[in-house]
Symmetry: C2
Amino acid sequence: MSTILDVARLAQVSTATVSRVINSPETVREETREKVLRAMKMCNYKYNALARGFATKRSNTIGLIIPNINNPVFAKSTMGVQEYADQKNIKVILGNTSYKYSQEENLINALRESQVDGLIITTTNPKGKVIKSLVDEGVPLVLLFSTIKGGAISAVGVDNYRGGYLATEHLISLGHKRIGMVAGNFNVTDRGYHRWHGYKRCLKDNGIAYDKELLVQTEHSLIGGRNSIKTLLKLSSPPTAVFCSNDYIALGASKGARESGLNLPEDLSIVGFDDMPTASYMVPSLTSIRQPAYEMGRRACEILLQIMADPTTPVQHMMETKLVVRESTTAIV
Amino acid sequence: MSTILDVARLAQVSTATVSRVINSPETVREETREKVLRAMKMCNYKYNALARGFATKRSNTIGLIIPNINNPVFAKSTMGVQEYADQKNIKVILGNTSYKYSQEENLINALRESQVDGLIITTTNPKGKVIKSLVDEGVPLVLLFSTIKGGAISAVGVDNYRGGYLATEHLISLGHKRIGMVAGNFNVTDRGYHRWHGYKRCLKDNGIAYDKELLVQTEHSLIGGRNSIKTLLKLSSPPTAVFCSNDYIALGASKGARESGLNLPEDLSIVGFDDMPTASYMVPSLTSIRQPAYEMGRRACEILLQIMADPTTPVQHMMETKLVVRESTTAIV
DNA sequence: TTGTACGCGTTATCAA
DNA sequence: TTGATAACGCGTACAA
C-alpha cells in the first residue's frame, strides 16, 4: 500500500504538497497538482483516514448507542443519524445495549477508546454516572429520545408526559373509563415512566380514579405485550381500553387480546406510542402517538456536529408528538 | 489527555513496559505492573485505540453495508453481526445503501479509507465491479444474503431459488393455479430474481403455464407491495394467491388487497419471504419462508474474522430456508 | 507556491 | 524482565 511519500517521490514533490493536493487543492499550482494526481493514479494510492485521524486527533467518526435495532423506531432514528452523518462524511459506529445499563457503559468506554469525536446515546438511564462523567470530561454528547428538559446536556426528544396524556385523553373522549396501561419496565428506561405520568394525570383531570392494578410493566418486546395484556384481561374488572407505551408492545397486545377471544377494536381499544412505519398496516390499524424518529435522529446528529464545533452551549430540541387516530380505538358501546 | 509516555514517566518505567502492562500483563513482573497500574489511575490514563490501529495497521473495526436498516430482516442480521463483533471487541461501522449501487460504491470507498479490517456486504449487485476490485485487492470480505454459490468469495446466504420453489409449491398444494408474484426490482437485487426462478420452475413442474402478467416488480417497501397487489387484482383474470418476495412487501400487499375489498385469506392467499419477527403478529398471520437472519449475520461476522486471520480459503455457508405455514394461506374453495 | 522537519500515541525490534 | 528507539502515514508550522 503506497503512502503520500511514495506519491511525493514519484511526482518529485514534497509530501506536504501531496497533502495539500488532498486537503486544499486550490492552494497548489494546477501544473503541480496534476502531476501529483497522476502519480497517485500510478501507484494506486489510497488515502489513509486512520493516519489522518491520528495526526489531527479527529477520527471523523461518531458513536451511536441504541437499546435495540430491531425496534422499528430505533431503526428509523438510526437511519436519520446515518444519513446526516453521511452527508458530512462522518462514519457511524453502532452499538446495541439491549436495554442493559452495563452494556451501555461498556460500549461508551469502547467507543471512547476508539476516539470517536462524539456520541449520540438513547440511554436507559439519563441520570446514571456514565452520562455524568461524559459531561464532566467534555465529551460531545447528544441524548436521543431524551427525557430530560433543561440542563447542561444536549438532547433531542419529545414530551413523553404529554404523549401519555394525549393517548389517554383520546380514550376518555371515546367514553372509556376503565383504561389500562402496558408499559416498558420503568427501571429499564424512564420514557415509559413519563408516559405513565401523563396517563395518570389525564385520568385524574377527568375524574377517573387511578387503579394500580391496571398498570403492567413488561419488557420492550412483542412477547412482553402479548403476555401483559392477558394479565390485564384476567382481572375481575378488566379494562375496555389500553395504552401501550410503544407500538411494538401494542402489536403484541393485539395478538394477546385476540388470543383471549376478544374482537378488536370493539372489545378493546388500543393506543400505541411511536407510530412505527407498519402501524397503519396492522389489523386493525393502530392508533398511536407519533414521534418523528427519523427527524429526531437527523437532528441529533446535526446538533452533535454543532456542539463538536462549539461546545460552549448545549442545545435541546423537543419535538412535537401527535395523536394519529386509526382503527384500533373506538367508542365504547 | 495523558499518554503512555506520561504514565511511563510517573511510574518510572519505559513506554514499552506500559504497553506490555496493557497488552500482555503476564509478561511483566507483578510489582512493576502494579506500579504502572497505579500511575495510570493517577493521571487518568485513557487508552487510544486509534493510535494503536495506526501502529499495528489493524483498526479492529469492520464495515457493515446493508440496503436498508428499516427492513426488519436487515435489522436482525445487523444485530447478529454486531453481537458477534462485540464479543470479539470489534467495532462495527454501519452504512445504508438504500438499494443504490452508487451509494454502495461510495460507502465501500469511505470504509476502506477508514482502514476497516474487513467488510460484510449485503450487496445489490454481486457481479459489480466494486466487489470484484475488493477481491482483487485482497480485502477481507463476506457477502451476506448472498446469491452466489461457489467461487473465490466468502458468503453467507440461503438458496433463494429453493425458497421461491417452496413458497409456490405450498400454494399449489392448496389447490391454487392462478398464482402471482410481487417481487423487488430485479435490477436492484438479484435475490428476488432467484426467488422468481424457483417460482417459475415450480409452476412448470406442476403443469401450470407461466403467465408473465402475473409478475409485478416493485420497490422493497410497504407501499410497493400495496400498489403492486392492486395492479394484479385489476387483471381480467386475477390471481387467487400471491408470492411476495419479502415480508415487507407482503404486509403492504395484505393492506392493498383488503383495500380492494378482498377478505384474507379466503379471497387471496399470501406467502412472504424472510419470516420477520412480526410475521406471526400480523392479521392474518403471515405464511412465510424463513431465513435465519440473525444467525446469518452472526455467521458472516465469524467467517470474516476467520478469513482475516487466514485469507487463503474463502468459506461459504448456505443456510436452510423453511416454510412456515400460518393463516395467510388457505385452500382454494 | 513549495519544501523541511517534527509531532501525534502506540507497537515492535533488538539489546541489555 | 525491562529499556531505548525506530516506525507507522499524515498534517502543519515555519521557512524558503
